[in-house]
């Protein structure tokens, strides 16, 4: 097993990104950072600071007004804020969608979807329609859908913001396991510091608009991380520091 860090596989890199919307709102300024394989980077910031805009730029949904992004957009994993499941498709149908859009043949598609559904713990719910799923289950289905692409880069846009605290902790734990298994380059957006510290290898703090990276923290804890890590004094100290940086960036 070779170490990936010394080859520096930059899966996603932002090079001096700036974003000013046509109405004159400057949302992002001088954003530069890289995310490599087997790295899980989380961006925390106050609401409205342009965190989601950053992901839209990474995915190509938006063109930045300055700078450039380097990423392979062929199989980019993007988990949205809402589960965005198609209500007329069952869980299986929804999970199969992306492979379908990428013209994967039916047998392989079904196999990939079943594996992803098993992986997120939705086995037995394949034939349920989204309207009969809870918020957490919808989010799992959405994760499974993205997993079928086996994406080398995974973008998460505040995916667990709408679920209750306990479900969120479970989903954090499962996301961490997926990261360890798949070794993707992960870029996660959230405003929950606990969520950020628990899952990430690195946390970036963004300032209020125009969003800039104002602080960067390496998170030293070993994987796999136990849920009780959240009560570790070192965890609390780091969270406190990030919280301070966040407040500094806010004012």
């Amino acid at each position: 097993m070779f170490s990936l860090s010394d080859i520096a596989v930059r899966s996603l890199s932002f090079d001096d990104i700036g974003m000013t919307f046509p109405d004159g709102t400057e949302t992002l300024r001088n954003i530069s950072f890289d995310v490599s394989r087997e790295e899980f980077v989380t961006v925390v910031g106050p609401s409205g600071c342009g965190k989601s805009t950053l992901l839209k730029i990474a995915s190509g949904l938006l063109e930045p007004t300055a700078g450039r992004v380097n990423v392979d957009r062929d199989r980019l994993g993007y988990v949205f804020q809402d589960a965005t499941l198609l209500p007329w498709r069952t869980v299986m149908g929804n999970v199969e969608l992306l492979a379908e859009l990428h013209a994967v043949d039916a047998t392989t598609r079904r196999k990939l979807a079943q594996e992803a559904i098993d992986l997120v713990g939705l086995t037995g719910f394949e034939n349920h329609y989204p309207k009969s799923l809870s918020g957490g289950m919808k989010m799992r289905a959405s994760l499974a859908r993205t997993l079928t692409l086996e994406p080398p880069v995974f973008l998460f846009d505040e995916p667990f913001g709408a679920v209750d605290e306990i479900t969120r902790e479970h989903l954090n734990d499962e996301t961490q396991q997926l990261f360890l298994r798949e070794g993707f380059a992960g870029l996660f957006i959230t405003h929950s510091i606990t969520e950020a510290v628990f899952m990430s290898t690195r946390v970036l703090v963004m300032s209020a608009r125009p969003g800039r990276i104002v602080a960067e923290y390496d998170i030293p804890f070993d994987y796999p991380r136990h849920p009780d890590l959240r009560f570790d004094p070192e965890f609390a100290r780091l969270s406190g520091e990030i919280s301070h940086a966040l407040r500094g960036g806010h004012s």
């Binding site: 498709r89 309207k131 809870s134 957490g136 080398p152 209750d164």
Partner: protein
């Protein structure tokens, strides 16, 4: 890219399952069936049945108490309507013949309206400029009283079945276009982003996202249009007054000849046709979108 080894997937799924939350989130949401089964069958059938008997009672009261015998032809009592319009074979066959003719006109008119409606809504959804160009004229067409158009329709299409169908189409097409267009635009932005991210073609987006998303609204339009096409068929027949005899011509004839029983019979039959068509499309909607469409999700929780 990571190759998924079945062995690791298996253990992964075990792990994922082991870590499933034990809270209420683990349970799927209970889905209420569309028809609330509160109360027994009797509770849902007795009130309308009771009201129906009251109505028939009032009817008898008007026929026998309020109207003198010499004026009773104005409103014949219910049993006479039953005897003379529905139990008399000659009268009944005439009524059913008219009903059948009007049903055919309504069906053909509705089918054409559906085709035109879906086509127009689809191209309008694809090209903003076409939507802008067409919309004012569609609203105008909707606003023109059909009576004012009748002479022109006769002028162009004669007074045969074609003209009846044209009236039907003009009346029925608007709700189909508007509702389908609304439905095509109803898919959430996030879903469109998803399709954009994965480089879906315009056609794929239309087929896999916009059309399915439009179905509930399309059915809402269809139910309105189906009722309107029945009205259109009867109104057309009524105005043209020639050609194959439909319910509209029968109504004119019965009114002119003071055949009160048959006149009421024709009214009952034509409203029954409207109700039947409405129920048919409600059932069809239930079959096609009922299992996934959550009509309540758009409303705030109570």
């Amino acid at each position: 890219m990571t190759t998924v080894d079945p062995q690791t997937v298996e253990s992964g799924s075990d792990r994922a399952r082991a870590s499933l939350p034990k809270g209420r989130d683990d349970q799927p949401v209970e889905v209420r069936s569309s028809s609330t089964k509160s109360g027994s069958l009797a509770a849902s059938f007795l009130p309308p049945l009771f009201f129906g008997s009251v109505l028939i009672g009032v009817w008898y009261f008007i026929s026998y108490v309020l109207l003198e015998e010499s004026k009773r032809f104005l409103l014949r009592p219910p049993h006479q309507v039953l005897n003379n319009a529905f139990l008399d074979w000659e009268a009944l066959s005439e009524l059913l013949g008219g009903l059948w003719s009007s049903t055919k006109v309504a069906a053909v008119g509705l089918a054409i309206a559906i085709a035109i409606g879906l086509f127009l809504a689809t191209i309008m959804s694809q090209t903003k400029i076409i939507e802008r160009a067409l919309f004012p004229y569609l609203v105008t067409l909707q606003a023109v009283p059909i009576l004012a158009l009748v002479p022109m329709i006769v002028f162009w299409f004669g007074s045969g079945q074609t003209s009846r169908v044209v009236v039907c189409v003009i009346i029925a097409v608007f709700p189909l276009i508007v509702n389908t267009l609304f439905g095509l635009h109803s898919a959430e932005k996030g879903m469109h982003d998803l399709f954009t991210l994965h480089h879906a073609s315009r056609f794929t987006r239309l087929r896999k996202l916009m059309f399915p998303a439009a179905l509930p609204a399309m059915f809402a339009g269809l139910r309105i249009s189906a009722g309107l096409s029945v009205i259109g068929a009867i109104v057309g027949d009524f105005f043209f007054g020639r050609g194959e005899v439909g319910i509209g011509q029968l109504v004119t004839k019965y009114a002119n000849q003071l055949q009160g029983e048959e006149l009421i019979g024709a009214v009952i039959l034509s409203s029954a046709l409207g109700v039947a068509v409405f129920l048919l499309f409600t059932k069809l909607q239930d079959l096609i979108v009922g299992k996934w469409y959550d009509a309540g999700s758009a409303q705030p929780p109570t």
